[in-house]
Symmetry: C2
Subunit: 390 residues, 2 copies
DNA sequence: TTGATAACTCAATTGGTTTGACTTAATCCT
DNA sequence: AGGATTAAGTCAAACCAATTGAGTTATCAA
């Protein structure tokens, strides 16, 4: 019997925290709103919303944005989020570097930094992250109290004990409770996720998935990953390792091969190297795509049917509002892929009443996952759940 | 902008309903439990649990089961669920028949019935279901007040308006709000799902998924369906049509074909018909499998790699605790399939620390979905969520 | 027998929402 | 212009349910 302790019980305080999140989330999604409007949307009484808004204004989260015009009755005083009222700190751990970012409640990027490291062992990383955090606060002029929490992106598989055999790509982190380590180092609530999940959240907080609540996100990191968002919440699977889409078989020249051997940055770089091009950075890839390098175009030709296959599977299994592709590829290339990938016809997503494309290009670039780490925290404050750790 | 109204705000009453569900759920999963134990597991105070238990005992949901022995301190008085305290009514609508079932909180089947119909149009079905409900109550001697709700299984796609093009297999139900219709007819809260989702829930409430909270369920109906359970809750996708796994391409003799053309009852029946066997019922299939009919064995040989492929995909995308296969096939055949399907090695589910098999055989038989319809309701009362309609 | 331990209860307190009566500010209608 | 209507919002009291802290009871261990 798995002794997963059940979600926490509810009491007055937790209700308040939950309802505050509801109000903030509504204002974030719908823009400046009046009390009555929020009350109707949330099922709370106007009085409750009024109390909560009073509190949020006093604490600086909301400010009065204006008044509605037109219509009968007294015009509503509308309130909007002060984006600067809260920020989130994102950390990405890679074998050769530690990246960090700060984004605010609006999803605006306030700060990014990259530090190369020779060893990513916990004892090296911990003080480094503390320094990075202090620097980030100083540079953005953010008081510590305004930091909602920290998100951490690192290669899985994650700590749910004894996943022997599969060891992490990050030396020295096997069996380490990263969440506790960073929570202690930064004195903040910490969320740990893989790159794809984090990047998926960034799209929701400030990218192309704004307004979506159930979607699938294909992330080009080194390999290829998948983030699944359901009702605004990430699916993590039973052991926290959901989204290993790189392993699934995809068609390639008449055979089936793991998707990541066909449609990943790894595969692309290998192919370019084969034709004598060393493409280390996103800028390199952009240039090579710009000049329509034959090896690049050959990779695209192979990747598109494989991605189409993956999308077909995702759509039919998951029925998302959209599938998004993003990550460490140049924007031009992602754009090209969304135009070139042929969407399967035999799909429940192929419906007439769609208002949005089935396939979208997400944020491009090497920092997506780092920004996503911070976005995890923003999303949590705006999409409350009783299971929330904060 | 999708105006999905946000989840309802929390107040004292909703908190209580939620916490009651938490207590009931704990007792259901862990067996007879003491107040303090439940308090620790749920994060509530003993006093809160005490009050809730008092209420639940007064209302007949719980009864005192005994006292713990041994250990220091005062022995805990333990409480257990009275399975008979609540029942759920399940309805399955098919083009040629209406099935119904009653199960109790323990997941025990109290009643099943099948009525052939010539037309399954709403105006015919509604009075029929009312009669079936009354008969079921009378036969099981259940007072109306003990019925927690009704679950309805019917072919999708579901009502989220205007899914033109895709029309339901059930004539006359296009654009009908089945939930409202049955809620009004039976004066009960109603949940509508597809067959695979419902059957998946039956496994959780009384079958092989007891104690699992994240798993994937492959359902053999006419075609093949998928139910995904995540943290005890069904994933429905953005438009309520998640789980259309029958459309995904699977390997068959060197080519890729839709899974349901290879590994479904439809495919099996077609193949048997091709060799002159009319297999209409599960019993027919059982006989043919018992005598190892060549057409049956050929189907199995083709279906196994295709199912293995599907399982590979599910495991790597969802990271479930287990994959379950069940539905309208004979138990012996399902058993055989779980033994014969080769589980992919390149899977995150292929871990050393597993305590449970990766692939399990679920409940077999033609009534699985009907029982699942009822199980939906039982699961809701035992796995509380703030979003709950009740 | 006594002390430690744990489960449980009682009564008061606390936190938060709802309810209902009232005020304010705009448009509509005559 | 002026009253009716409509809607937003406030105030204070009532209400609901969880927590807190002190006290009781039952068992084991020394």
């Amino acid at each position: 019997m798995s002794l997963l302790h059940s979600p926490p019980g509810s009491n007055a305080e937790r209700s308040r925290a939950y309802n505050r999140g509801l109000v903030l989330g509504h204002v974030r999604r719908a823009g400046a709103s009046g009390r009555a409007e929020i009350a109707r949307a949330s099922g709370l009484s106007t009085q409750a919303v009024s109390n909560i808004i009073g509190e949020l204004v006093a604490e600086g989260w909301l400010y009065q944005a204006g008044r509605r015009k037109g219509g009968r009755g007294q015009p509503a005083a509308t309130y909007a989020i002060d984006g600067k009222a809260g920020v989130a700190f994102g950390i990405e751990l890679r074998p050769d570097a530690v990246l960090c970012a700060v984004i605010d409640l609006d999803g605006q990027t306030l700060h990014t930094a990259r530090t190369a490291v020779s060893r990513a062992a916990p004892e090296h990383v911990k003080p480094l992250v503390q320094t990075l955090f202090d620097t980030a606060l100083a540079e953005t002029g953010t008081p510590r109290a305004r930091v909602l929490g920290a998100g951490v992106v690192m290669p899985g598989p994650f700590g749910r004990t004894g996943v022997s055999g599969l060891s992490t790509e990050l030396p020295g982190w096997d069996g380490i409770d990263a969440e506790a380590l960073f929570a202690e180092a930064l004195c903040l609530p910490v969320t740990v996720e893989n790159d794809a999940n984090a990047a998926a959240m960034f799209e929701r907080v400030s990218g192309v998935a704004t307004g979506l609540s159930s979607y699938a996100y294909l992330y080009f990191g080194t390999g290829i990953g998948l983030g699944l968002v359901s009702d605004g919440v990430l699916l993590r699977g039973a052991f926290g390792n959901a989204g290993e889409i790189g392993h699934i078989p995809a068609p390639y020249q008449g055979t089936l091969r793991p998707l990541e051997e066909i449609a990943s940055r790894m595969a692309l770089t290998a192919r370019l190297r084969g034709s004598g091009e060393a493409a280390e950075t996103v800028a390199d890839l952009e240039r090579l795509f710009g000049e329509r390098h034959p090896a690049m175009m050959a990779w695209i030709e192979g990747a598109c049917p494989a991605l189409s296959h993956a999308i077909h599977i995702l759509e039919n299994i998951y029925d998302p509002e959209a599938v998004i592709i993003g990550g460490a590829l140049p924007a031009s290339l992602l754009e090209h892929l969304t135009r070139t990938i042929e969407l399967p016809a035999a799909s429940i997503s192929n419906r007439e009443d769609r208002t949005r494309p089935r396939l979208l290009a997400g944020t491009a670039g090497r920092m997506t996952a780092t920004l996503g780490a911070a976005a995890l925290v923003i999303n949590q404050t705006l999409t409350p759940s009783l299971a929330l750790s904060t």
